[in-house]
């Protein structure tokens, strides 16, 4: 019997080279996805396309298509490593738990939806975090929250939440510092998520016109950002503030115990077989 080492977060890939490839795929796809998020700022702007309006109207569709493709690409490339029943089971069940947590109404309407992707991403690694984030939203869409045009965007950004959390520095030694770090991280992500998620419908809320709060084809990035800033503060800043604060408090309180739990089980999933 050959000696195999098996760790939850790493079972995704059979060869280091393939792991590198998967990572590369994930990164490139994420870049495209990010670009798609920012389409309002990135509209074609050339003399032979002065009818930017037409493209402005195609853009949302085109980018939804693009995002869906990228998601599929990432998932299927990771899937080649997803053959491990343990990983699938843990993913599936944690996803379910996340969906339930989303249903659990915390005080002041905090949702726990980000707790798991962040902490699991941190404990079990970026890829796991990414998948958990992606699947969590897919599942809650299947279970009554509904499939909406924003779904691919939500899935991607929730995936990034887990992904980035996996890239945080490991502070196993100092649990308290760990908790604080994750809490601040949650705060930041709370806002980032809001900013990203508002982008997709920004171009709809305002029609073409000389709005101070609206993107315009051919607007240079800086002023576009300024306008988006205005729009964002007007629309969802306060909501996101609440959510971010919620993340902060939750992680501050829960990060440590949940991490302890996850690491306990990580040991159970870790094994080695020795030839005899």
């Amino acid at each position: 019997m050959t000696a195999t080492r098996n760790r939850l977060a790493l079972v995704l890939d059979r060869f280091p080279l393939q792991r590198a490839l998967n990572a590369a795929i994930l990164v490139v796809a994420s870049l495209i996805g990010l670009g798609s998020f920012f389409y309002p700022f990135l509209l074609p702007q050339r003399s032979d396309q002065f009818n930017a309006m037409a493209h402005a109207q195609d853009a949302p569709l085109l980018f939804v298509v693009l995002v869906v493709l990228c998601l599929a690409a990432v998932l299927s490339s990771l899937a080649s490593g997803l053959m491990n029943a343990k990983l699938i089971a843990v993913l599936g069940i944690l996803t379910a738990a996340n969906a339930v947590l989303r249903g659990v109404p915390g005080p002041a309407g905090f949702t726990l939806i980000f707790l798991l992707p962040i902490v699991c991403g941190y404990a079990y690694g970026p890829t796991f975090g990414f998948l958990l984030g992606v699947f969590s939203l897919a599942v809650s869409a299947f279970l009554g929250f509904g499939v909406g045009p924003w779904l691919p965007y939500q899935m991607f950004s929730a995936g990034w939440v887990g992904l980035l959390s996996g890239c945080l520095p490991r502070l196993k030694r100092h649990p308290r510092a760990e908790a604080v770090m994750l809490a601040i991280w949650g705060l930041l992500l709370g806002f980032t998520f809001g900013v990203l998620m508002n982008l997709w419908f920004w171009p709809y809320v305002f029609s073409a016109g000389q709005s101070e709060m609206y993107w315009e084809p051919g607007l240079d990035l800086v002023s576009a950002l300024q306008r988006y800033g205005v729009f964002y503060t007007f629309t969802s800043f306060w909501w996101d503030l609440l959510r971010a604060a919620g993340n902060f408090v939750l992680l501050l309180l829960f990060a440590a115990p949940v991490l302890r739990l996850l690491r306990r089980f990580q040991q159970r999933f870790f094994f080695e077989v020795r030839a005899t």
């Binding site: 050339r46 569709l61 990228c70 997803l82 599936g92 339930v100 998948l131 809320v205 939750l250």
Partner: protein, 362 residues
């Protein structure tokens, strides 16, 4: 009622115009058709419940768009009233054109949401899940597991809450969520080990004949190349507009490459489907109708898109243009209503365990 594929086709045919049109007349038609679809087929299905929330959101955004637009856009000739110029952003003449423009873009958003809401209401999500393309089947399994476990977890969450209560646990602050969350997670993780065992024991994964290392790597490289192609193409567009054609070409090649990879990856999975949904004549009718509708919309978009756009601001007329051909295309989307067998909606309703159980959660 209808085959999942049929519904997906319908969705595409309905979403494309909803996305690319800003002409209130078209949007109104699309909205009408979709609403009709929902009221006749979607109302009694378990997921019909999500319709409400979608529409609410849509109406909210619709209502949001009008004042924002009216207050911040001051061009047009039909002035309703003036706000003092000194006020930032909103100061200036408030024009009818601006109000209309706001309403139209709000309408566009509302339409998109309603289309999706109708889709959610009529499609059988369970079947939708079972129809995962085979190159994504592992993802499908993960989601299916999650959906299978959610109801049990809801129950055990309730158990946990009671168990803690009789230990004197009370809700004073967020911290008191801990005794509820941790056992839930711990139970989940314990179960996941057992589940993994059963899956292994039932030969999960023997379906995928893992390709030789070389082929695996090659296919991965191919995918990476395709993605890079798209990325480069797009950045070309961004920073080097002259190469437009080449850029688009790159994007196209990239996309095709991805699709090819999906196909290849799908072929690795030797996995059969137990229950194929049956495809009836009405399915064909609806599918064809949707295809035609989509084709018309795309062709018109490519050849004479003028009527897709609308702006009330001078020098344009307030009255939108209307192309009967496009109108017909949109009307075709009512087809499901016409050919659906009677009482179809009722059939659909007893076919979604996951969704039904989820209603306890919310």
């Amino acid at each position: 009622m209808f085959h999942t594929l049929t519904w997906v086709l319908w969705l595409v045919a309905a979403v494309v115009p909803a996305f690319i049109m800003r002409n209130p007349l078209y949007l109104a038609l699309l909205l009408g058709a979709t609403w009709l679809l929902y009221t006749t087929l979607g109302r009694t299905t378990p997921m019909g419940s999500s319709w409400g929330s979608f529409v609410k959101l849509g109406v909210f955004l619709f209502a949001l768009a009008i004042p924002f637009n009216a207050l911040s856009i001051h061009i047009g000739q039909i002035v309703l009233f003036h706000l003092p110029e000194s006020w930032p952003i909103i100061g200036g003449p408030i024009t009818l054109e601006a109000v209309i423009a706001g309403a139209v873009s709000g309408l566009a958003l509302l339409t998109i949401l309603v289309v999706f809401a109708a889709f959610n209401a009529v499609v059988d999500h369970y079947q939708l899940l079972r129809a995962t393309p085979s190159f994504l089947f592992q993802a499908g399994v993960v989601i299916s597991i999650a959906i299978t476990f959610v109801p049990q977890m809801v129950i055990s969450a309730r158990e946990i809450r009671q168990a803690q209560r009789i230990r004197g646990h009370r809700f004073r602050g967020l911290r008191d969520l801990l005794p509820l969350v941790i056992p839930l997670l711990a139970n989940s993780l314990e179960r996941s080990i057992q589940l993994a065992e059963t899956m292994e024991a039932r030969g999960f994964g023997s379906a995928v004949s893992l390709p030789s290392r070389r082929r695996a790597l090659l296919s991965q490289l191919g995918l990476l190349a395709a993605l890079v192609g798209v990325l480069v193409g797009l950045s070309l567009l961004a920073f080097y507009p002259q190469a437009r054609v080449w850029a688009w070409l790159l994007v196209a090649i990239g996309v095709i490459g991805m699709l090819a990879f999906f196909a290849f990856h799908g072929r690795q999975v030797k996995r059969t489907r137990y229950r194929r949904q049956s495809w009836h004549a009405p399915d064909t009718v609806v599918a064809v109708a949707s295809a035609i509708s989509l084709a018309i919309v795309i062709v018109v978009r490519l050849t004479a898109p003028d009527t897709f756009f609308y702006s009330p601001y001078p020098p344009n007329s307030l009255l939108p243009a209307f192309d009967p051909l496009v109108g017909v295309a949109l009307l075709l989307l009512v087809m499901p209503v016409l050919v659906a067998p009677r009482g179809a909606a009722r059939e659909a309703s007893n076919s979604e365990p996951a969704a039904r159980d989820m209603e306890h959660v919310a």
